[in-house]
Subunit: 703 residues, 2 copies
């Protein structure tokens, strides 16, 4: 904690570079809300409907339990929001659930949370897009008729956008999110006004349908179980609440306070909308069923396979505003857009989490470096591929996808809150100030209640949803967990193998001389340049080396060599099989054998061209040779590049690529803020790390 002022120069230089290059800005609350809350807010588009769906199993009479379930969801929402307000204050650096669990409960808990979050990102994309398509479909039937195609198309679109590096801008999020929120509130208000003041009868499009109860007259344990299942489904409204706790560094100062306020505002908006929609659904007699084709009856007979069950929010909107009216269509469009933005959130969060995991060596090190386009691309493609697969398998049916969704969320909620309790315990042990202690005790109580409640919900979700699809999510978590453990093990093993022994640095037998060898095929500018550079290096011996693949060419080379009077001896290796790699490797080995303490420096002239298809035509032998030489001990391999004219193309392309901004940069906050945080984190980490040879970790990325 004391290191905050340690690197003022660095911060200054960082700032100077930053302001004229990337122009990252801190987010005011009114922008932060839509950026971070599009995921939880948008989930009110499907969560209320899921509650009704499950209740319908016991027939329409069970709908009367829905207000109670709404109350339970509201209580849970307040608990979770209150808990995460503590997180935000305790970890102003943006400690997400992974970091909280990792720091306080140890790496296994951390990795469990990370696996859960990774699975959740995939499901956020799948569920949000499926639901978005269904909402669009309530206005334009084409979309539901080609549900899977549309959903996959939107996944592809989002993927391409994020691969190209569209910068997440606050405005992009703000407008549709606010249109959506305002739209829902207007709908609730107008519905209430019409119902209570004007005493209009508002009827949802499905109000005339009957529900065939799958289990008529459920009672006792079965009824409780059903209500718990309905509650589990309603908990979908809570997904994405933790996003703000990751994004504290992106807020304006005072960061923690602003983040906590935004969190509260988000919670309030979400529960109001959730309850309002449930209320309107009851008032307008919305009828939904888990298997609408069989269980919804029109005039006594099932509606059949052609029936399209519209989302509850659009049914309510149809009842309040009228089907096909301007407001109805506006709300449907805003709902769909917010849902797609929520999906986009995962495209930003996935690489962010990947970067933190890479820092802890659970994922390839290069994911850690910001702006590493290739690494981000791989993450994005992985995310899109998994989401696309789920959408395809589950027919882009949001109801079936939601069964998978909630496990991961509550795994991370629960472990994060348990971690917070530990956090406060640790701090209470050290803290003497009574006022601060009181504050901590209060926070601990909130987190403890949060842990208890979310843990209970997790058990409920697991019990009620396991066979309905939660097992798929658990399987995904296990796969992520196993992969990340294996990667970490590999890094640890390598770190141990290469760790430098203490003592003077020349623990290895110090080499005595360098024998330099310049590979020559023909005399041309690239080889002349390589020779000139090699001479400058003043190695102990220097010779040019050519492989005799074609006697006539070799003879011509020797003649030109003499004619030009090049003052480096030219050695020619025979190659009866026209190979190039083998004779050189054997020669290098023979040099090493003669004087084992010498180092052989192989200098290779290389062409640099601009297009990949040109690359195919050049340097292939050099590439293979370099690959083989790297396996030989006591060798240095030097490339002396010669830039051909066409290489300018590639240079320009590389420069353009550098301007690319990684997804998630806005919600991640400016780099120097994160640096401070990682500063602290690694101080903490290095205190632990001395037990295992992890001091070598960062080399994987750099060398």
């Amino acid at each position: 904690m004391s290191k905050l002022t340690d690197v003022p120069k660095r911060i200054l230089i960082g700032r100077a570079l930053r302001s004229d290059r990337l122009g990252e800005t801190l987010l005011p609350k009114r922008i932060a809300l839509p950026v971070f809350a599009s995921d939880p807010l948008s989930s009110v588009a499907y969560a209320p409907g899921e509650v009704l769906l499950v209740l319908s199993i016991a027939g329409v009479s069970a709908y009367h339990f829905s207000p109670w379930i709404a109350v339970a969801v509201v209580v849970l929402m307040f608990t979770v929001v209150a808990s995460y307000r503590q997180n935000v204050h305790a970890y102003p650096s943006g400690g997400g659930d992974y970091e909280v669990a990792n720091t306080n409960l140890g790496p296994k808990a951390g990795l469990t949370v990370a696996s859960a979050l990774l699975v959740d990102y995939v499901l956020t994309v799948a569920v949000s897009i499926a639901s978005g398509v269904e909402n669009l479909g309530s206005a334009v039937p084409f979309f539901v008729e080609h549900k899977v195609l549309c959903a996959v198309g939107i996944i592809v679109l989002l993927t391409l956008m994020n691969l190209r590096g569209v910068k997440e801008s606050g405005k992009l999020f703000a407008i549709p999110t606010y249109v959506f929120v305002v739209g829902v509130f207007v709908m609730i208000a107008w519905g209430a006004f019409r119902g209570l003041v004007l005493d209009d009868t508002m009827r949802a499009p499905t109000a005339d349908l009957e529900i065939k109860a799958e289990h008529q007259g459920l009672a006792g344990f079965a009824l409780v179980f059903l209500m718990l299942r309905a509650f589990s489904s309603g908990c979908a409204a809570l997904t994405g609440v933790e996003a703000i706790s990751n994004g504290v560094p992106a807020f304006r100062k005072p960061k923690s306070k602003n983040a906590a306020t935004t969190l509260a505002a988000m919670g309030l908006l979400a529960v109001t909308m959730f309850c309002g929609i449930i209320g309107l659904a009851m008032a307008t007699n919305v009828r939904m069923a888990e298997n609408p084709a069989n269980d919804l009856l029109r005039d006594g007979s099932p509606v059949g396979d052609s029936y399209v069950q519209n989302p509850v929010i659009s049914q309510v909107a149809a009842a309040v505003f009228g089907d096909g009216t301007f407001f109805f269509i506006l709300l449907a469009a805003a709902t769909a857009l917010v849902l797609f933005l929520a999906a986009n959130t995962a495209y930003n969060g996935f690489p962010l989490l990947g970067s933190i995991l890479a820092q802890d060596r659970y994922l390839p090190r290069q994911l850690h470096t910001r702006g590493d386009r290739l690494a981000f691309s791989n993450g994005i493609v992985l995310l899109a591929g998994a989401a696309g697969l789920l959408v395809w398998i589950y027919g882009a049916d949001s109801t079936r996808l939601i069964q998978l969704y909630i496990v991961g969320v509550f795994v991370s909620f629960t472990l994060s809150q348990i971690g917070m309790v530990r956090h406060w315990n640790r701090h209470l042990a050290a803290e003497k100030d009574q006022a601060k202690r009181r504050h901590m005790v209060r926070s601990r109580a909130i987190n403890a209640f949060g842990a208890f409640f979310t843990g209970l919900v997790l058990v409920v979700v697991l019990v009620t949803k396991f066979t309905h699809g939660a097992w798929v999510a658990l399987l995904g978590m296990v796969i992520f967990y196993a992969t990340m453990t294996a990667i970490r093990k590999h890094y640890d093993r390598v770190a141990e193998e290469i760790s430098a022994p203490e003592g003077p640095s020349d623990d290895v037998v110090r080499p005595s001389r360098v024998h330099s060898v310049v590979l020559i095929s023909k005399i041309h500018r690239p080889t002349l340049r390589a020779l000139a550079y090699a001479k400058l290096l003043r190695s102990h011996t220097l010779e040019a080396l050519s492989v005799n693949v074609d006697p006539a060419e070799t003879k011509a080379l020797q003649e030109e060599w003499n004619r030009r009077g090049i003052d480096v001896p030219l050695k020619v290796l025979d190659s009866p099989y026209r190979e190039i790699t083998r004779p050189i490797i054997e020669y290098v080995k023979s040099l090493r054998k003669e004087s084992p303490r010498d180092v052989v420096s192989v200098i290779i002239p290389e062409y640099v061209v601009g297009h990949w298809y040109e690359q195919i035509l050049h340097n292939q032998s050099a590439l293979r040779l370099k690959g083989r030489l790297l396996f030989t001990a006591g060798v240095m391999v030097t490339s002396v590049p010669y830039q051909l004219e066409s290489s300018e193309v590639a240079k320009r392309r590389a420069r353009k690529r550098q301007e690319w901004s990684a997804p998630g940069s806005v919600r991640r906050g400016p780099a120097d803020e994160r640096a401070k945080e990682s500063d602290k984190a690694s101080t903490k980490a290095s205190a632990k790390a001395s037990t295992k040879g992890s001091a070598a970790e960062s080399s994987d990325g750099k060398s």
Copy 2:
């Protein structure tokens, strides 16, 4: 020509290496015949049937023209064999059609021949395998019922075999080829004995069928056209005749004479078998039609789609030996096997031709180096892919595939023979010895007649087959031609750009000093090794460079640096965006800007691991950095490898890979024989080459 004795040491060393390593042996005639002639001999399995097929269009009466067509094919075969015997004597180095056309008619003709040959290799695979499957199917119906699947399966099998590097052994070819040849001769003899001596009536399985003529009573031009078309189809028997002229170096001495004898024997066998099968087909009343389903009538009504038209060779065998007898099945199996061997021939010839084309810079240079597994693999996969596609498109129907086949063959025949006429003209101009002149005039007459006759056939084939599929083959040739021209242009342009100006070698501004920079991330064995090596290089300045991605790590690095007392200054670059590449590139550029005549040597410690998935976890940043640095002028990039324990795996794998023998090595002959040849060829070439900057050509492969 005078250079044959120029490199005795090289040959000796080559021999010594060779005998204990690859054990390449020269082929006696009895083995050379099956190795080189499996393609032309196997074509008698389908060529006679194709003649009957075409004739059937004019009704069964037109079958009576088939002996005349057989005579025309025999005359053509003798002409071609006589012509190629001249090639073999004139080019004992194994000058194939490409080399003959290229040397005597110029590069455009050469490239045309090469394109034709490449297309032909693809078609050899497609036609031979389709026909082989049909022959197998005559014994075991399963194969014809799943024709495409079986054909593709065999292509995949041959491809895998050749990718793994199965060595072409003489015995592998000898046994089935001789079984096939002996089988066909026994069949002809036994058939003649039964028919002429025993006066048995032998009836083919289709003897009872009637043929519905598509054009009844053809006469005049239409009849001539049909006969020419039948003749064109019969010419399929000539495919592959040129193979021996490529393979002269593989023969025992006297090479040319032995090759010429083998060629004659092959021609004699082929025509005897061709005529014998046609004769037996006439005697046993074989009935074949182009569209058997409609045009073959059983008791007056079409046989329908379920009818399978067996190859003529199997119908004849059924008539002579009896359907399903041991001899029948043996012959069918031998026929299929020889056809698959013929397809395998293309797998050997394709990389061989590719290697020669690469030498002339029409294909990527690395194809030229023998035993370059990757390059061969690409060629093999390309060949298999194209053949598989054709098989799939044409439903593995040999009759439809043959329409494409014959164009390419006669393009190369004709151009090769024209080239030979030019060859003799040139030699006649220089030759004084009357006996030799007489011999040359005679050879020229044979080649001239060959050129005229094959040219005529080419026109006939083009006219009669163009719309039947020959256009596809022509299109393929155009694509190959255009690609190879583009590659050659690229190489020429690069050669011009990099050619060293005459005069003293320091035409480039001679650099004055080397500034060495060792990249450091952590202190561990790989970086310590890189530092030790860098010190040895005695560059003018040396510093260690680290990028500050994480302040805490950087601080720890600096502390350890001081503690260990490493006597190289450590410079730390700031990186506010956690990038690694950009700060280093900018630093290197700034060094260059300060002193533009200096060279910057960037030394990168690298881990060497054994598995590709480990590679993903390491060196990614180093790889990207190296890629970017190569585009910077005045830079040398040095890798100092550190072999981790797991790298042993990769070393073993590489060693194993080295043992791999490239397809085509047997028919190519020992390496030193080819070296002599290329010696001569390049003397000739270099006489021409001075006009264009082609002196730099071989560098593409090596540097």
